[in-house]
Point group: C2
Chain length 480, copies 2
Amino acid sequence: MVSQAVTRQSVDFSKWYNEIVYKADLAAHSPVRGTIIIKPYGYEIWDGIKNALDKRFKATGHQNAYFPLFIPESYLRREAEHVEGFSPELAVVTHAGGKQLEEPLVVRPTSETIIGEAFSEWIQSYRDLPLLINQWANVVRWELRTRPFLRTSEFLWQEGHTAHVDEADAERETLQMLDIYADVAVHEAAIPVIQGRKSNIERFAGALRTYTIEAMMRDKRALQSGTSHNLGQNFARAFNIQYLDENNEQKLCWTTSWGLSTRMVGAVVMAHGDDTGLRLPPRLAPIQVVIVPIFRSEDERGPVMDAGSRLNAALSDAGIRVKLDTREGLRPGFKFNDWEMRGVPVRLEIGPKDVENEVAVLARRDLPGKEGKQTVSQANIAAVTLELLDDIQANLLSQAAAFRDANIFDVRSYDELKQVIDEGGWARGWWGGSDDDERRVKDETGATIRCFPFEQPGGSGSCLLTAGPASQVALFARAY
Amino acid sequence: MVSQAVTRQSVDFSKWYNEIVYKADLAAHSPVRGTIIIKPYGYEIWDGIKNALDKRFKATGHQNAYFPLFIPESYLRREAEHVEGFSPELAVVTHAGGKQLEEPLVVRPTSETIIGEAFSEWIQSYRDLPLLINQWANVVRWELRTRPFLRTSEFLWQEGHTAHVDEADAERETLQMLDIYADVAVHEAAIPVIQGRKSNIERFAGALRTYTIEAMMRDKRALQSGTSHNLGQNFARAFNIQYLDENNEQKLCWTTSWGLSTRMVGAVVMAHGDDTGLRLPPRLAPIQVVIVPIFRSEDERGPVMDAGSRLNAALSDAGIRVKLDTREGLRPGFKFNDWEMRGVPVRLEIGPKDVENEVAVLARRDLPGKEGKQTVSQANIAAVTLELLDDIQANLLSQAAAFRDANIFDVRSYDELKQVIDEGGWARGWWGGSDDDERRVKDETGATIRCFPFEQPGGSGSCLLTAGPASQVALFARAY
């Protein structure tokens, strides 16, 4: 196992990303075009995100269910915008069981249609509402340009689907779920996302309103990291999702959907990584502490390994995900680099002198060199390490927040916007333009409206492009 | 919501099963042929099985990963028996992204081939072994005759895939995973499965040896509930999975695979259910205790609901999955029937007199009528209920074991076997027949060799069919 150097971020961020994903063992190349194999180290990060979300979904009254992978092609056609949005990306099963199918089956790109059909059968009266369902599933979107985790032909995600009596309740749900996404991003992934509403042209195909959490990567590109849609009555109309209200009148439901995917693993990589490799937030790190034993002779080996095992047990008993690196034939320096590249938050070094003095050295991944090192009594190891992990989690978040804030600029004119975007930043300014105006900005600068942030300055201003009246500021950036 | 009576098991077991699956809300009909929608009540049972397995997989050193849904058609052809076994059941994607694919993609029926290809790249030396991977996934097998949970075109499962240095280690792994399946079946699902080895003709397509856990349903049919395969070097040869041993010699790996699916939800239904409906083992029951408040007037309502809420909180705090049935306009008797049908292990009744006396009535689902009822002080409610849940779990297991043992008969001749099978039992007898002999028994009686049980009488006997020498007994039964 030879740990190779990684391309520096400043040299080629995109190359850095592709290299680190495979070198850090998050994913492996797959023989199927546009897909990856998610390896255990990457899958565990996803599992951490999944558990954090699932707990919050259940605490807010949602239940998990599972719907078929295959959707009759005709279902997708029932909602006009929806089919237009997804048609170019569909994978289609035409043969099964040795025969041609009468109606081709689409491999789900998302499940609004098949779940809408089910909801129309399950919902009878207002007593059945709200209906709050979530699904953990794989979906397929045949993308032309793919990148590991960020955009792959198949990916894992959750998709929530809910039905409500009125617009207010649907809107409340849509925003609640966006809040949950932001909470997981901020407190688990240490990514300070910005919440806001998508513009018309960036809306989900078939939605009334789409809300998003947007994250800034280390190359200052934006990554849409989760979206929540108020679908209005569009799908209820297309699939006839009706209920009898308290006055025995037949009414159309209001529905929502919301999804967060394995793309979030890519967000963790690109929001925190540095030239040395990954920097994983402790709450999602598959390995929070790695113990590297240091010895030069067989005589030293025994006592050092014994101490390593004891510390391993002490940390594990405290609920810390710890690994004792027992690999033979590798120098400590090689192991240090290897685990740094893989982003383990804390390295514990233990050598003969440390054994003698009943101490160990803790080194932080987020603070390089001496600054991040401390010598700790073995007796206190668990308590000190737990606190250290909290510190690192908080530090990654504040570093990312500082980086984000330093790279968002208020702009008053199109020239200012162009300059900010050219220099790789995010531009925030009053916007009152049309869909076409927005498309023009995209064509000319490569930047899109990431969102109209919930945090608004208040009042009104004049549109940075048209100088016409504007009631809200928009956030522009180049995005993945 | 009208709770309808269920067809009695003795009248038509198959109809009972189909009715109860939908009435108890485990599943819903799906518009896609041969598939079901797994509803929250059914999904939570699966989640319980999943968590129980996942914990055990990790404790034995396995890690989760995720491989692509689509497999190039050519991969399946590399292992001759494997492609022959699965070809008739494949669903094939021929178009994607608006174009015809150059090579059709098969929707995975199982993942030995694509994982074999990956393993061949990941494994270099003996240091990489054993490689112990598990995947939680959906798979598709285009079955002609389908039944909810038992056999559907798409189902959820886990599939373990491992590679080893030699046959002994692969065999140890294969048996270890079967043991884990049996442990989960017995201790979580309360199903006393029989472990054994499959005959040649019931082996997995491409395996050297297949092991199985076999369960007896309430109609005495057998249900294969999980299988573990020693794949020998068949897939290693087909996919070139090699390693350098300690002497620097290139060797072929030995691989295994093992799977358990949502079929297990069907096993829980059919192993424990009775004429009234489901009887869920407490460890897997989504709702372990349902609280039904009983009152006749608005005056009684307040104190009873208050007590119900307090008891709900007390049980929930003790880690019990409890639900307070607050539905209005339904009589207690209706609610009793409804929750019995849905198999909730314990019903807690609370009325005005109980409130006065600070007691509650606990009724067991597994013991009908007065026998299963007890009045309990509210102060002790959590402790008593926890113990009661353990009792119910144990009782369901011992009832199922007694039922199984009462319906397995030792047979010495083919006539005896035919009689036992005709009467719906399982027949156990010495077997030394050929594959063709086994097929003859199947054609003539409908019974197959479920397994050669690990528990053998020892010594030898004469084959029940051919009267030739036999070194082991086989278990024959009609099966799902």
